[in-house]
Amino acid sequence: MHSDNTSTAIKKTAFWLNLLILGTLALSLGEMMFTFASDIPVTLSINGEFWTRPISGFEAGDRVVLVTLISLGKLLWIGVLYQFWTLCSLYKRNQIFTVANARCFKHTGVILVMIAVVEVALVPAIGGYLMYRAIIPKMPDIKYALLFNLDTLVPGVFFWLIARIMECAAAMKDESELTI
């Protein structure tokens, strides 16, 4: 059983973390808006040559699909922030080792793995869509060495592991509380 001091410290940290999450969310949304507004060019390498076109150069329907594909990773990141927000809210209510917490860790892990998958699939997806729409003549060059980004895959699997540990901790706490 943790002491009152520890409990207060956890609540205080969770409060500040909640504020930080709000700030990060605002910045992430701002970055997405900036992507829309700044008319960034879509650049692909086809047969070793660069093919580029600004977002505004596409038809409205294509623009929506492309911006959605480009923003998918960011949207998933917002999902991670939401999970952290929920975790902090639970910590503020003094719910440290609970099944709900374990679920948050599990969801975070799943979303991080999804971000890794989206990052890997982004260039082939954009290329495939543009080729399907006959905007580019063939699939863009895919540099496999740069394709596999494990930056979010490792923490994703790690969060999954933490989720299992938290499930065990919740079961142990439950058992401990029901030991008379």
């Binding site: 439950d174 058992e175 029901l178 030991t179 008379i180």
Partner: protein, 78 residues
Amino acid sequence: MPIIVNLDVMLAKRKMRLSELSERIDITLANLSILKTGKAKAIRFSTLEKLCEVLECQPADILEYKPDADGNEDIESD
């Protein structure tokens, strides 16, 4: 669970109320209720010792093993 807690039977035999037992063994009424209603997952030896001392009985008078109707022993594996 096939372990039955017969605390209510012993209390009736000793004509003692749960609140009185709670005071004498220094365990909260809420925890004793959990024990009495069979919701507890485990019992400490120290608690069992206090119960036996105050109720003047043996552990077997409080705890009873009764297999499930379908014969399962309901042993949880780790």
